[in-house]
Amino acid sequence: MKNVVRIITMTLVCFSIGIMISWQYKSIANNNQLLVFQRTSIEALQEELIEQQRVNEELEERLKEVNKEIEYYSYAMDDMGKIDRTIKKEMREAQILAGLVDVKGKGVEIVIDSIYGKVFEVDILNIINQLRAWEAQAISVNGERVTALTEFELTEGDRYKINGMYYTIPYVIKAVLPPENIDYLVYMIKNIAEKEMYFEVKIEVKEEIIIPKIKDEGSLLKYVY
């Protein structure tokens, strides 16, 4: 009888130790996880803070520049030469951004082809977005200037509607971007080319790429006014 009681007691003791060990294990794992989480959150916060400080510095610098210009224009109305140059420069910049003028510069030519006759929207969008991520300043696809509102719509017959016009494969994407970013972009595009099985991507760096202006600015202005 005594033995039975002892065995039961021992079983209970061992049982509770087992539970404690598992509990302990979970608690320590949790603590470690919390610690890792806190460390990552500190790093993320620091990174975000540095980024925000950089943005603020840039803003402050620009504010100073613009205020200096205001002062200059207000007191030096007689220096028409400089004012004319400023106006011309700003107008040119707006025209480049809007795609209203032909532009040229060092850049890349990407050719996308597929034996299946079709490339999905998301893949075209990915390449265009890569170009923008590497700060492409002007892009065209099969001669259509890519503007802020250019759509890529895969329609019937596997044709793409771009700026309201229809194009079939192959797609020739031209882009001008800052020369220091070209190598990174080529690396990224080659990465995509290696991964994709159903379409082919070729990229070539060119000293001079010409990007045409938008073909039908009437269609653009129609929506603005």
Partner: protein, 239 residues
Amino acid sequence: MGKSDKRNILLFVFMVLGFLLALQFRSVMSNTSKDAVSTAQTIESLKKELEREKTIGEILKKELEESIVERDTILRNIVEERGSEDINEEWERARILAGLTEVVGDGVVITLNDASEVVSGVSDPLLHDSSLYEVLNEIKKAQPVAISVNGERIISTTEIVCAGPTTRINRNRYAVPYEIKVIGDSKKIREVFLNSSIVVFEFIPNNIRFQIKEEKDIVIPKYSGRIDVLTNAVEVVEE
């Protein structure tokens, strides 16, 4: 069971208990130690500092916008005084098309957010950068007038790049939720958006939260970053 057996068992049991106690003690101590307290304090102070920098950024942005408007007005007045109306018109048209002016009009506001909770069977509860540019492409199919995401005007150079938990848009970072404002034909935009493959095959099955509502007099801000750095690698081909 002999006496020595019992002793051995008890010895073993107490050794394990002692070991556990020490482990627990260390773990608890490391959590409540100065380290942990200072970690929490660091996080708190970093958050506060970030908040402060963000507020400064907002103020600077506003001041800069006001200054740019003032400068543009001065320049335009100078051109007008000299009777060069054509230049003013051409300049204004380029600025509108480039996204350098504020636009007001009717349209839709679309909000996108990660799935509210992870439901079993959901393959991907997060909203990715590719989802965002796919949605923007769908909207562009409906020929909109202007688009902005979290106050960033979409212009010809706008990138949508995943940067950790945030997304970089016009070189600034934003986190979910994303608020996309669109001026244009709301019926058409609604139809294109709700029938798009991204909504039907990704958002709905993955529980990604989205909302689309029609609104009047939506204000879409102008692009507020530097323009010269977006155009300094190209040269205009003179005709």
